[in-house]
């Protein structure tokens, strides 16, 4: 089972996404985000990127989602819409689930899935170490490259994050 851990985690990832994109109330959407975020961390860690996975847990789930949860709790209604509230949300959730189940069954039956790219049954999803990464793992090298070769990217993303806050404050000003 642990050979296919990445596949199982990505199924749970997709189910989490389906859970919040069927649009229940944002509190339950946040629950879907927590599930997807945690499982996504697991996928990144399975590929050897332990630093980045833990960063996602810490900053995304432990910082941004917590703030999101608090603000949603302040702005919520008395009976928030859960997945079984009305036919629309339940219907879209079930449609997403059914499509995921069909995909999983297709992957298990045929050994290949050539939809947009060649997905040969578990060949790409089982993680094995070829041992040619050298002394440093690839994700640490990537983080170092971000701050050396990728200076422009850091500048742009930092500016965009700042502008995001400015825009949101400007939009919600209200007068």
């Amino acid at each position: 089972m642990f050979t296919y851990i990445v596949f199982i985690l990505s199924i749970i990832f997709v189910i989490g996404f389906v859970g919040f994109s069927s649009k229940p109330s944002p509190i339950y959407g946040g629950l879907g985000l927590i599930v997807s975020g945690g499982v996504g961390c697991g996928i990144v860690i399975s590929f050897g990127g332990s630093f980045l996975g833990l960063m996602v847990f810490l900053i995304y789930l432990g910082g941004m989602l917590v703030v999101f949860g608090y603000t949603t709790a302040m702005a919520t209604e008395q009976y928030p819409e859960v997945w079984t509230s009305n036919v629309v949300v339940l219907g879209s959730f079930i449609v997403g689930l059914v499509m995921e189940v069909v995909l999983v069954i297709t992957v298990f039956k045929d050994d290949e899935l050539g939809f947009i790219f060649e997905f040969n049954n578990m060949g790409d999803w089982v993680v094995y170490d070829t041992g040619d990464s050298g002394v440093f793992s690839k994700e640490v090298v990537g983080v170092a490259a971000l701050y050396s070769y990728g200076t422009w990217l850091v500048v742009v993303t930092g500016w965009t994050l700042f502008i995001g806050v400015v825009v949101i404050m400007e939009v919600t000003r209200g007068n």
């Binding site: 947009i116 990217l153 742009v156 993303t157 965009t160 400015v166 825009v167 939009v171």
Partner: protein
């Protein structure tokens, strides 16, 4: 309405987003440029905080975010099939189709044109100006960069449908911003039609379209007019503007001695030289639909004097309060530069 310091930061980021799309060689940076552009134009669309502007900004945000998602999907597919992120090297036809669809959504080409009139209507005139001129630069520069890989059938279908819809949709409108929105849809159709034949003509059409639309919007802002009826009171307020509106509208319609004829002439020449006679005939004929509603605006503004109430008749004495420094050179550039056409051949 917006604190000037914040407004300068926001406008800088709008410009920076478009410039990043134009100068990047890495697909991720172009996507970031699109997101920066979209994020910071939202408060400009919502300058006046009323529910109509909020609705227009929300519609704009939803369509542009979907188009950015499609762009990211195409970038990832391209990465999967070629292993590199270089712009101008699209290795996969599926990726090229998805990027064309994403840019069509951003530009407002048919069948993704439904947001343009509604967003243009809900925002102030100056925001509409930025929306219909500056926001077209970034998607068209992406289309210009991937020109060799574009699927000809798809883009010609979309552009011909846009010209038809831009013409027919504008016929029943009295609101000026919706008329300019349908005019924008039709002009985008003309630009993308010639893109696969000769991309330089697309740039020529873009430049002249931006000049003419800029001038038109500035004339509307000077009058503070948003409907045909309000535009028809111009004879009373600033009679010189009625003459300018006349020549600008005829130039937008593409009539010969004026500048607006130049891109249409060049485009029809390029398309005909490549053998698509039916396409160029259809495009020329459906441009008449556009000309009809420009003529109707001209008729209401310059060619007739619409009746007004008596206390409206003395407004010509009052001086104009809006500073329009660039309006005179813009009017001249939008109407009288056709004789410069031989310079293009150098």
């Amino acid at each position: 309405l917006i604190n000037p310091l914040i407004l300068s930061v926001i406008l800088t980021t709008v410009v920076a987003g478009t410039v990043m799309v134009m100068i990047s060689s890495h697909w991720l940076m172009t996507w970031i440029g699109f997101e920066m552009n979209m994020l910071t134009i939202i408060p400009i669309l919502m300058k006046h905080h009323n529910p109509r502007s909020t609705e227009a900004a929300t519609k704009y945000f939803l369509t542009q975010a979907t188009a950015s998602m499609l762009l990211m999907l195409a970038i990832i597919i391209n990465l999967l099939h070629s292993g590199q992120w270089t712009v101008m090297n699209l290795h996969n036809p599926l990726s090229s189709i998805i990027i064309t669809l994403a840019m069509a959504m951003k530009l407002g080409l048919a069948p993704f044109h439904f947001w343009v009139p509604e967003v243009a209507q809900g925002i102030p005139l100056s925001s509409g100006l930025i929306l219909l001129t500056w926001q077209k630069l970034a998607p068209l520069s992406i289309l210009y960069m991937i020109t060799p890989c574009i699927n000809h059938h798809m883009i010609l279908t979309m552009s011909l449908t846009s010209i038809l819809i831009g013409g027919w949709g504008g016929l029943n409108q009295t609101q000026l911003r919706k008329i300019m929105a349908y005019s924008s849809i039709a002009h985008m159709g003309w630009m993308t039609a010639v893109l696969t034949y000769n991309p330089t003509m697309m740039l020529l059409n873009l430049l002249i379209y931006i000049l003419m639309t800029l001038t038109t919007f500035m004339l509307f802002i000077m009058n503070s007019s948003t409907t045909t009826l309000m535009l028809s009171h111009t004879w009373n307020k600033m009679p010189l503007i009625t003459l300018s509106t006349l020549v600008i509208m005829l130039s937008l319609g593409g009539l010969p001695p004026l500048t607006g004829f130049l891109p249409k002439w060049m485009i029809i020449q390029e398309i005909t030289n490549n053998g698509s006679i039916m396409l160029s005939t259809l495009m020329a004929v459906t441009a008449l639909l556009n000309l009809y509603f420009y003529m109707r605006l001209t008729y209401a503004t310059s060619l007739t004097m619409f009746p007004t109430t008596n206390n409206m008749k003395a407004k010509w004495q009052l001086e104009n309060t809006k500073k329009m420094n660039c309006l005179s050179p813009l009017i001249i550039m939008s109407t009288l530069t056709l004789p410069l056409a031989p310079m293009m051949m150098l």
